[in-house]
């Protein structure tokens, strides 16, 4: 049984189809990457899955449950976590608080309006563990807006991780990173794959080849190829779309 499945998924903006009849299946425990040139519809596809966009038609099921049309908060509560291409943090709150808020979103204590925020030790401990996991413990008390770009990218993922997602969607986690930071990020994603099914977007093709189980190539809203990295790399249509830019 597929963990996530899209059927004839279609999204129009005006007359522009940014996601065009996309049929995909994602198995549990693997790493998928979605690649394609800018404007191919990768982010839109992720937005449809995570409830940030409603499809024009088609269906999305997660664990055999229909999730298209749900709000992003509901999708999140079902176990789909999401990080964003552009940093999407709580800027004036501390790193710890950014993560703690995400942990708290699963805890019944979130409705408590009269106890001190520190009342739920398990929430704080888990937040600490996640801040540690993303390597930001030394900056735990720092406001998110003052982090370096690389650290912001890590926090971006930390917030998504803190909701304990079975499926983790990451939109260009390496965007804007220096080459050595990118290598570290890829190592980190590999580690995350031990606990989460991962779908991540990347527009540089060479990056995904080493760590993906399956690669999905998009162009102009369509999925033009899926398969193992080697198979996709050899695909003539993919080569055409990238104008020989694969290596």
């Amino acid at each position: 049984m597929a963990l996530l499945k899209t059927t004839k998924l279609l999204k129009y903006f005006g007359s522009l189809a940014c996601v065009y009849y996309v049929d995909l299946e994602f198995e549990e425990g693997r790493i998928y990457s979605i690649i394609g040139p800018n404007g191919a519809g990768k982010t839109s596809l992720l937005n449809l899955i995570s409830g940030h966009l409603a499809p024009s038609s088609g269906e999305i099921t997660f664990r055999d449950r229909k999730i298209d049309g749900l709000e992003s908060s509901q999708v999140s509560q079902l176990g789909i976590g999401r990080s964003f291409q552009l940093n999407n943090l709580f800027p004036a709150l501390s790193v710890f608080e950014n993560v703690r808020l995400a942990v708290q979103s699963r805890h019944p204590g979130r409705y408590n309006f009269f106890s001190n925020i520190g009342a739920y030790r398990e929430v704080n401990e888990k937040a600490d563990a996640i801040v540690d996991k993303i390597g930001l413990s030394p900056s735990s008390a720092k406001q998110a807006q003052y982090l370096s770009h690389g650290d912001k990218r890590l926090l971006e993922i930390g917030i998504a991780l803190a909701t304990d997602p079975a499926l983790l969607l990451m939109d260009e986690p390496t965007s804007g990173m220096a080459p050595e930071e990118t290598v570290m990020m890829l190592g980190f994603i590999r580690k995350l794959a031990l606990e989460h099914t991962i779908i991540f977007i990347e527009h540089k093709m060479n990056i995904v080849m080493s760590i993906s189980d399956q690669v999905i190539v998009m162009n102009q809203g369509r999925v033009i190829a899926t398969g193992t990295p080697a198979a996709v790399q050899a695909d003539p249509e993919v080569r055409r779309a990238y104008l020989g830019g694969i290596d």
Partner: protein, 325 residues
Amino acid sequence: MKSVLRFLKDPFVVIAMVSIVFPFVFPFTDLATEMLIFGLLAVAFNLMLGYTGLLSFGHAALFGTGAYTMGILLVRFQVNIFLGMLASAGMAAAIALLIGWISIRRHGIYFAMLTLAFNEVFYFTLTQFRDLTGGEDGLRGIYRPDLVAGPASLSVQEPMRFYFFVLFIFLLSLLAMRRITGSPMGSVFKAIRENENRAESVGYKCRYYKIVAFVFSGFFAGLAGALFCIYIKYVSLSFCHWSLSGEVIIMALLGGIGSLYGPLIGAALVTLMQDILAGMWERWLLLLGIIFIIFVMFFQGGVWSGIEALSSRLFRKPEKKEIPA
């Protein structure tokens, strides 16, 4: 010694001490009482603007609901003062729920405009229920009841006594709002202020949390209205006029929306100015407007952040907070 010092650095303690001493050095007790009441209103308002990032133009309706409820309950049912205040705050919370439920679907300026429209609808509705509200003449026959709890009773006719009664309710409300803003749910309010989209993405149904913030804010705004009703022993439509909503916004911004306590300073200043200037010069709002513009342009954190900067320099702790943490 150290713990005493820390105790004294708690703004709540400072505010409590200052307001206990205040009427003994400030000879206008009624004015001091008014400052507390509008301070409560401004802090309640700031639960939305400063903490949740929601600009409401409907707080006059909530204040007015509290005042009318208290007035009507007194005139018609000679209600117990505590029960009356609770009912007034509850009624304002219910109206906040209604306004919130509908307005919260829109964001930013559209939200503010919807709350303003509701304020107008509310105002107009009150003019129509003349029997209940007294229409344009206002509600008359309101008296200030004694504090009755079981067999005990205490008169608060005397201004100083009434001041301390108001102070008691004021401090209790301030403590409650402090707990709310420091609670797990309060942290969600701040998350919404910071980035509603992300708060939603990690699983919070922000709409509900915003409505709850509105209801809390309405509760304490209504409580302020009820206190004002028994302070001035009169309720008129002007309590619900949108211009009061505007004044509350000015109070909060002038004092500083970046903390729980900032709006208190703004409320005190505006109330004082109004009292001094309104008698001398009927265009005093012009002056208030100019001061307001200067503050918004040059002192964005309001008076409170100036005080914080000063005190952190005194205590040599170089940390500046612009936003409620």
